[in-house]
């Protein structure tokens, strides 16, 4: 029987939200092909009970403490072993830092096609069919993948996690010993203060050259904090100028994001920037130039001095949150 293998990510022993999205995608595929979903959990995770809720029929758990951090070779070996045990299989991962690294490794080991960073995946006319934005979203391919096995990585925030009344039995699995090339993740450095990544945030406040100098990004940090759970992004111009880290860059040579709300502050709207954020559900633009291209794609525009507007916006949102 056809099977879909969803690779579950954990951080510090907790299943990541994006994995519920990957499971939801896996469930829809399995329903189309009348197959089953196996959730593969790598590393120590205390609670795997949500995995059934989001669509798994079965949970295979490799509890090995050595897999607490992402170890490319061991993760690839364990995933490939499970995939081979599943029969004709479609492997689904999230297109995160981990999935973008692991997906290609698995496809190479299984000698099979990979569709990376897809925004939709369905089973149509007997084949896995995906949409994948290219040129940072300036165009979209619809691709049909020939047969199994195959590997699909799903872009975060593309597929809303869907809960179902289902429970899955957990079985233990083991990681095959990997005599392969020596690559070892020794630790994860976390910056002071929990930083939310722009690729994962549901609300992004982004700044451009209009901020005039790096210190003024404090205005956006305050706005993001007032909103709560918002990330601060940046345009290429200010990243190239060294004001903000590259990790925060939104656009064709940065990250492609699809939050519920994107607030562009002092960003003119260059084509390479717009490519990276045009899939936001709602776009707000704040800019002093009423002819800036960003207003052509924004749902709501505010024309004027950002140094007056942004603090007021922060204030009003604080009142709202307090009220």
């Amino acid at each position: 029987m056809a099977s879909v293998l969803a690779v579950i990510e954990q951080r510090d022993g907790v299943v990541k939200r994006v994995s519920h999205e990957a499971l939801t995608a896996a469930r829809a595929l399995a329903d189309g092909m009348q197959g089953t979903v196996t959730a593969l959990v790598l590393g120590p995770v205390a609670d795997t009970s949500t995995l059934g809720t989001y669509g798994a029929d079965r949970v295979a758990h490799v509890t090995d403490d050595g897999l607490a951090l992402y170890q490319p070779a061991a993760y690839a070996a364990a995933t490939v072993a499970q995939a081979r045990a599943e029969g004709p299989v479609t492997v689904v991962l999230s297109a995160t830092a981990l999935g973008k690294d692991l997906g290609p490794r698995i496809a190479a080991r299984l000698s099979c096609p990979l569709a990376a960073d897809v925004t939709s995946v369905t089973y149509e006319h007997g084949a896995v069919t995906v949409s994948r934005p290219v040129y940072a979203g300036k165009a979209v391919y619809r691709l049909r993948i020939a047969g199994t096995p195959c590997v699909v990585t799903v872009r975060p925030n593309s597929i809303p996690p869907l809960e179902r009344a289902r429970s899955a039995a957990t079985v233990s699995a083991s990681a095959p010993t990997e005599p392969g090339p020596a690559v070892k993740t020794v630790r994860v450095k976390e910056p002071p203060g929990a930083r939310l990544d722009v690729a994962e945030a549901s609300i992004i406040v982004s700044g451009g050259r209009g901020l005039k100098e790096p210190a003024n990004f404090a205005l956006l940090e305050e706005l993001a904090a007032a909103i709560g759970g918002a990330a601060v992004g940046a345009s290429r111009a200010v990243v190239d100028a060294g004001w903000r880290p590259h990790a925060d860059q939104v656009g064709q040579t940065g990250k492609t994001v699809s939050p519920n709300l994107y607030i562009a502050v002092g960003i003119s709207g260059a084509i390479q920037h717009v490519a990276g954020m045009r899939n936001a559900k709602v776009i707000v633009a704040i800019n002093k130039d009423k002819d800036a291209p960003i207003f052509k794609i924004a749902d709501y525009g505010l024309v004027g001095d950002l140094f007056a507007i942004v603090p007021r916006l922060t204030d009003e949102i604080r009142k709202l949150r307090a009220g």
Binding site: L69, Y70, A95, A97, L98, K100, D101, G103, P104, R105, A107, A108, S111, C112, P113, L114, A115, P133, Y135, A136, K138, V140, Y141, R142, L143, I145, A182, T185, V186, V188, K189, E190, P191, A194, L196, P245, H246, A247, Q252, T253, L261, I271, R278, N279, K281, V282, I283, V284, K290, F295, K296, I297, A298, Y300, G301, L302, V303, G304, D305, I309
Partner: protein, 250 residues
């Protein structure tokens, strides 16, 4: 140190994409092509490592059409020693089909270090580099934004969501590199002149069909321009009202 850098010819990021008549590919008429921006970091890193070692060779390899010779020349102008074009007019959407001939070429070169950009800004696959790493069976680290190499061993830093992974590996290795690793140099006029005389070997390759079929390529629906809520800070309450009750995102 013998270093291979894999590079790709891609449309300039300022390009507006048009769909070709077949409905399945990009209309290349009038498009300016450039060296993939992430590959510039890879070329720069290779040059710095060669310069630091005081000896060695930097070879650029590209898979693509005849015109990719220009892309290779731009890397030679930055300072790479020689180039190899694996020439094909087929554009495969299956990254493994692209990785195989590259792996074959690289295997024959016996390199200490193989560098890729972390992704190409056209296909956005993030895939060919790690696939080549798997095919070669060498240690591979992707999206490297910090790198130390010392006596056959390396430590790389790669950005993950909300943090940085520190990864140790042994050489020979394959790395895909991220923006932030270095600041690529601009080719000097002297370099551009010298590049014209550097060796560039063209080898035709057969690309396998691969397992990915294009159904169509379309432009995303244009976003409708919304409305200007107002001017200046006094318009903020109206904006919040709209975000709460109209868009329902706050």
């Amino acid at each position: 140190m013998k270093i291979c850098v894999c590079i790709k010819r891609v449309p300039d990021t300022e390009t507006r994409i048009k769909i070709a008549a077949d409905g399945k590919s990009v209309d290349e008429a009038g498009i300016k092509f450039i060296l993939n921006p992430y590959d510039e970091f890879a070329v720069e890193e290779a040059l710095r490592r060669r310069e630091a070692a005081g000896a060695g060779e930097v070879v650029v390899v590209s898979l693509g059409p005849e015109a990719a010779q220009e892309t290779i020349r731009s890397a030679l102008a930055m300072g790479a020693d020689r180039g190899v074009l694996l020439k094909t007019d087929i554009r495969s959407l299956d990254p493994l089909a692209v990785a195989r001939p590259l792996a074959e070429e690289i295997r024959a070169g016996a390199y200490d270090l193989v560098l890729f950009g972390k992704l190409a800004v056209d296909d956005y696959n993030h895939a060919v580099g790690p696939m080549v790493g798997e095919l070669l069976g060498v240690p591979c680290v992707t999206a490297v934004a910090g790198l130390e190499l010392n006596e056959g061993r390396g430590t790389a830093e790669r950005e993950i969501e909300g943090g940085v992974e520190v990864v140790e590996f042994a050489l020979p290795a394959l790395l895909t590199v991220d923006k932030g690793l270095n600041e690529p140099r601009y080719p000097a006029l002297k370099g551009i002149m010298a590049a014209k005389k550097k060796p560039l070997e063209v080898k035709p390759v057969e690309l396998a069909a691969g397992g990915v079929d294009v159904l169509d390529l379309t432009l995303p629906a244009e976003r409708q321009a919304g409305r200007i809520v107002g001017e200046g800070p006094d318009a903020v309450p109206a904006l919040i009202e709209a975000l709460r009750h109209e868009a329902k995102v706050l």
